[in-house]
Symmetry: C2
Subunit: 314 residues, 2 copies
Amino acid sequence: MALDKNIAVLIGGVGGAKLASGLVEAAAPERLSFIVNTGDDFWRLGLKICPDLDTLMYTLAGLVNLECGWGVADDSTVTLDSLARHYQIQPWFRLGDKDLATHLLRTHWLRQGRSLTEVTTCLAERLGLRATLLPMCDDEVPTIVDTLDRGELGFQEYFVKYAWAPVIRAIRHLNCEKARLSEQVRKALLEADIVLIAPSNPWLSLAPILAIPGLRELLERLAAPVVAVTPIIAGEAVKGPTAKIMRELGLDVSAREVARYYGGIIDGFVDDLRNEPFETEGLRIVQLDTLMIDQADKVALARALLEWTGSWTR
Amino acid sequence: MALDKNIAVLIGGVGGAKLASGLVEAAAPERLSFIVNTGDDFWRLGLKICPDLDTLMYTLAGLVNLECGWGVADDSTVTLDSLARHYQIQPWFRLGDKDLATHLLRTHWLRQGRSLTEVTTCLAERLGLRATLLPMCDDEVPTIVDTLDRGELGFQEYFVKYAWAPVIRAIRHLNCEKARLSEQVRKALLEADIVLIAPSNPWLSLAPILAIPGLRELLERLAAPVVAVTPIIAGEAVKGPTAKIMRELGLDVSAREVARYYGGIIDGFVDDLRNEPFETEGLRIVQLDTLMIDQADKVALARALLEWTGSWTR
């Protein structure tokens, strides 16, 4: 079983969180480290918002709004409504009142001089999480989306304000050349018995993590196997703009194309059994049911992929 | 009538706000300037809270919770409850969700480098206020209460956490020697045809304002009359710790003692008709009904005191 293994997971928001909630049941949560995309992070009304960290945190704490996949369940928007009604501040990013508790506390602690890594650890501890949550780095590396229709957009503008309608020309990670791998991320990867790449959007959620100087090289020389899970099922993404972006970037919308994107990093690839099988030199591939609807699906996928990789090493 | 007069009012929170809501009806609100105590201001969870400015702002905007005299009516505490429940942050200062909109926006604007005076003007404008609201200064001059029972306390600790139970030995205004009179406050006073001192707590709400270097001297040399309204009615304060503090400071709990405290500054004193009449050399005194229960009482008092002062100059 996987209970004696250290597992590190590179992960984004909603899609990744599904696998994460399977993993905490299928493996020992104390030995799980999630290395989370922070390219989506932004400041709003003086508050630091970390959408992917929050989604994962709320999911693992059992607080998440399961209908959206993000935000806190049964939340209200009294503060936001007051800002609109009394102060004519029209918010395009929904911030619930329960959710605000997180942003207030995070921002308060950050302003006291603590790093995002420390702050995230404190928040996760207070929420009772047993797994480790790590921001990909402590530097701000905002994702900028260059679009055909509207030029360069901040990630949340692209994703929320314009509902990922604009056509993407390119994606860049501002200041990524100056970002530094944190000791905690380095340690989690070096001590991992297996590294997973969650079925998050490779271009929007994983690319920012892989853009941190040294991270790609570190993955390449790890003894532990690195295994990615397909975000593409039957030519489409389960949710979100992965397939749309692949088309806009001139790529085939297929699991093979995703595996190619991770080429050089991954040793294994979990494909979906609905996809057309493919082979790639030097890559172990398994076909599993990767469509996660309910909690049982999530645990089943986590168990199956850990069993599959448990039998082999790099 | 008082519609052609510029009126400046030195003012604290709840007690003062009652007179303020009478004044905006009895006079031309565009010619009213409120110079508000900020000695109670504090930071909480990274947010700048200005209790007296908020009370006055919410009162004049018709948003105030009339039962408490402060806070926004029909407010909830979802964010605060989440902080307690999920993050074990036990708040002793109640912050409503609607109220949070103000604190978020104020703090955001302050962090952008704007002064508290500018920020207050912007908030008041968005709330549709026609009167001018001015913080007493842009510097932080926190009121420190030295108590017999618990030593030195920050104002909100004394007032809210310990519900003004500790016995006061002394009150000081931290950093007041470095505070500077703002141009806006100076202008409001110089252009005033009459200056009022609201029936707020003289030691907790007015003393911080009078402690700003230059303010007392400016009041003394103004051509306009300065008139205070008694906060003591029949040997008691209507609300709050004024009478208790007078006793603790070894003072007689009387309007005469309040008039003595303002001695050298005031030309007129509005006493309550329930009080024992007194005379003071060089001080004009009138006895009016200063107990303000409903809006009609507030307007009546404002009208009566403006009529009284309208007939005389310094």
